[in-house]
Symmetry: C2
Subunit: 174 residues, 2 copies
Amino acid sequence: MQFKIRAANKEDCKEISRMIMELAVYEKMPDQVKISHEELERDGFCQNPFFECLVAEVPEHHKSREGFTVVGYALYFYTYSTWRGRSQYLEDLYVMPEFRGNGIGKSLLSKVAEVGNQKGCVRLQLSVLNWNTPTRDFYAAKGAQDLTDSEGWHFIRFDGQNLENLVNEAPKDE
Amino acid sequence: MQFKIRAANKEDCKEISRMIMELAVYEKMPDQVKISHEELERDGFCQNPFFECLVAEVPEHHKSREGFTVVGYALYFYTYSTWRGRSQYLEDLYVMPEFRGNGIGKSLLSKVAEVGNQKGCVRLQLSVLNWNTPTRDFYAAKGAQDLTDSEGWHFIRFDGQNLENLVNEAPKDE
């Protein structure tokens, strides 16, 4: 199947927003999505964007049942390792179910790595849910290492009230 | 003990570099550190910095045995949640052993959260090694959630040859 990987533009945010919800449904946490396409437009297409995004597009004659031609996306940002330096984090990689098995996900992933390589990034990281075997196998097959299994790294998060508490405890500047 | 939390400047990179190594030794992975203070200067103090950093400084009369007055640091960067939006990731939080127990780590953490709050961040994330009980307890006591335990998130990494392979497989632009 023909498809094209390209950098997302502001006008793609509605499509990206739709697919973010589709991915959350797959991850069994649709109620977690609190973000609008307006926020994506604001945060991804400003002076110092919080993220970058690639989209996969198919020709009109391959469009989805619902008539979509933007059928996948990879949303990532730049991070930093104090051991190795410039790195990338892949927040989301998604291909609509009816378009899977055509190498679109693999192409999105490789393109993200290529963009990072051009910026001097030496790592590409992401996270997966332990029950999500197809996804874990997808990355493992490409040589990715599971650092939670191999080194014992755990994800920690502050949000909501416990984050507010931290903010309120911050020392006041003289 | 008196101490001050302030934004790091370029001139602090040698001290930050020294403490990055001290932290890696504590984490039992000193051989993993491949970064120089010149790289920190380049990547943290450029147009679109890859990270931001706070340092903890004590007065001259409290200086460390080796004569250091910069005794802790918190290195973080901005990330993005496609569910919640603007977020922060705390890459490193470190206080020199002889200065622990004075609230310096807590102040660094709170100050990072305050800076994020001013930027509209709704999450502060980080990762810890599962054997590092003191650190896990430190964050848990402040209400942080362990997402690896509660939701089953695993860290995945591409680097070295497997990352190069991805880059080389990227579809070529027409």
